[in-house]
Subunit: 435 residues, 2 copies
Amino acid sequence: MIEPVVLKGFRDSLPAQEIPKRRLMTKLESIFSMYGFAPIDTPALEYTSVLLGKGGGETDKQIFHFTDNGGREVALRFDLTVPFARFTAAHSAQLPHPFKRYHISKVWRGENPQKGRYREFHQCDFDIVGVDNAYADAEILSMMSYCFETIFQGDKGAYVFHISHRGLFNSFLDHIGAREASVEVLRTVDKLRKIGRDEVKAQLTSILGSGEKADMTLSFIEKPEGESFLDTLGRLEALCGGSNSAADRLREVYTLLEAEGISSSFSFDPSITRGLDYYTGIVYETFLTGAPSIGSVCSGGRYDNLAGLYTKEDLPGVGSSIGLDRLLAALEDLGSPLLGGKASADVLIASEDKATWYAKDAALAAALRREGVRTDVYELPVKKMKAVYEYATRASIRLVLTRGHDGTLKLKDTASQETWTLAEEEAAIEIRKRV
Amino acid sequence: MIEPVVLKGFRDSLPAQEIPKRRLMTKLESIFSMYGFAPIDTPALEYTSVLLGKGGGETDKQIFHFTDNGGREVALRFDLTVPFARFTAAHSAQLPHPFKRYHISKVWRGENPQKGRYREFHQCDFDIVGVDNAYADAEILSMMSYCFETIFQGDKGAYVFHISHRGLFNSFLDHIGAREASVEVLRTVDKLRKIGRDEVKAQLTSILGSGEKADMTLSFIEKPEGESFLDTLGRLEALCGGSNSAADRLREVYTLLEAEGISSSFSFDPSITRGLDYYTGIVYETFLTGAPSIGSVCSGGRYDNLAGLYTKEDLPGVGSSIGLDRLLAALEDLGSPLLGGKASADVLIASEDKATWYAKDAALAAALRREGVRTDVYELPVKKMKAVYEYATRASIRLVLTRGHDGTLKLKDTASQETWTLAEEEAAIEIRKRV
């Protein structure tokens, strides 16, 4: 007998996990489609050299690579961005410009599984490439806003988007003559929550050679409670020595968000630095009010040139990535009914005499499905209701409709324990009401 | 500069391919959900030994296997059945029994790419395990029927299901005392279209040692034109020497299909043998009337024991697999509008002065999306309409709505070349009518 085991860092997805996941993915896909974004797909396996061409940067990605039977160095894709860069370079002549695409699919990384991370997980990316303006920046933010508004069913207090602009901090460092120290300064600032303000100020004073410059840096990243978006922007502009293109772009984007009536979901957070250093413009993260410690569930920003390693064509872009697994885990912890639960069906139809009542059972199931009620027809003639209820419990099906030997229909709500006798003609509608 | 190439046998999926594919997959998923089937997922990468445990049989699957960094022999899954067997064995205690699941996902095979085959493709499987009766057999067929009826928008003449039962032919061979020659006989019979009747008869006479037995075998697999399902069944039962469990099961399943009103889509085809020899009961294939040469687009059957290599628990099952790529290619060849086309949006909104009219454009896009109209907002202020039309052409968007500097809206149907001037308040509804 072979042990039915999976590799370390990999896992099966049972219905209880997969049903909410698919529901969320379907919801997101329909929003992306509504915004005119096109789906694409790329191979799971690529030439290692092509994937690595993008370069490492600060992200420590462990690639799942192999030598195939033909002696080629191949690897499973570790994100959807590098394949997108290659894709865009390869098919530029056929794609609309600008190009708006979404891609929801698996990626693989050789993460250390002991850290509780998985080696296989879904990413959900959406980008607009081939244009560099505030309209494209705002479009991504608008779509993100609509996604989260939909996920949280209109409860705008459940989430907040933090935005900033990579260029703004660079402008500030230019102004205080510390641009060449930007990597060190950013790294130090990132440790604020871990090592505390005093230690950060001490380290900044050392790096910048001045306590005053350290103070200016701290006042750049620390926002006073309740300061409005535009007030923060004005204050930081002053710290930068006056107007600059980064501030102008942020102001323009905010104006567009206001015009669309969604600006209240956006908070200016000058402390955002974003791990991936290929962002060159607006950057953003998304936090859930009810689960602040899990970090960002949707992050992204604007980048200069997507596919510079593969094509001479300049392709600036802006995009975002939803951390599906993290978001699903948070929604689960929040006990949120938003994803519709884990049930594989809304009603289970169990007949004591399937042979006699087959036609009626089939007609009833068809009527229920026409009403949009997910209907599971129990495949065995009922001998003991205990087995039927066990089945319903494991499948998380709340409503159980039983047909007796004489054909009568009884509906039971296994949550409330209520039961009703239903007439054939009204059964589908009565059940739909209770779903 | 790195060449943006993919591995041999792998390919990108551009919007023109991915949009119809996603639409089909979403449609199928919703039907499976309506029947109470639960989605699952399994890892793309597994232990080679676990995957191969199922055994080869007559199918020549070339596995994509590697040695990973930890020295483990790992492989990409080559189908969804073996992972399902392992999955069911691993999680049996949590799953409902019987268990109905669907799984739409990628698999990988080391096929020879010169033959025009790909090494990476989607499979779409649905099975019911843990029960062996006619109701489960009929449920799978009912769902298949509903899938194809939906795909072909009610045109029941567009497809036909051929069914048979592996046990029936075995019964016949028992009756003529030739059971031990079953593999040879089946292989010979399979060559009928290639080598012709006379040659097949000659080979059968040689294998069976009798011209009469060869004739009986041919009359078993050759069905007279217009013979009804039940008449064929009766005739074959007689050839088997009388009633047997395979014939009984087929008759029972057919009766259920009749009761449900879908039996006219099913044809009894005694010549079906099915490549995978682990089927032990009912077997079926699906043919498109408009594309007979492409072979079956949905095949499957009943099998004795899904997970015998992984668990002592007996798990008989019945299931089916839709060949998504083959079906999509056929629908494309049939020029079918069924999948809704390749457009990434229904309407493109292009403004000559985005800054002034941003709020109105945003409100209009939101109104359109509420009406279910996929709306792409062109990210650049319009300089030349030529660029806008080029964009619409590449994205296959038929309707283009332009807003002039003065705010007036003009709608153009790029297919008919008609244009209309629209008032702001009616624009969303007028556009929806024309989608």
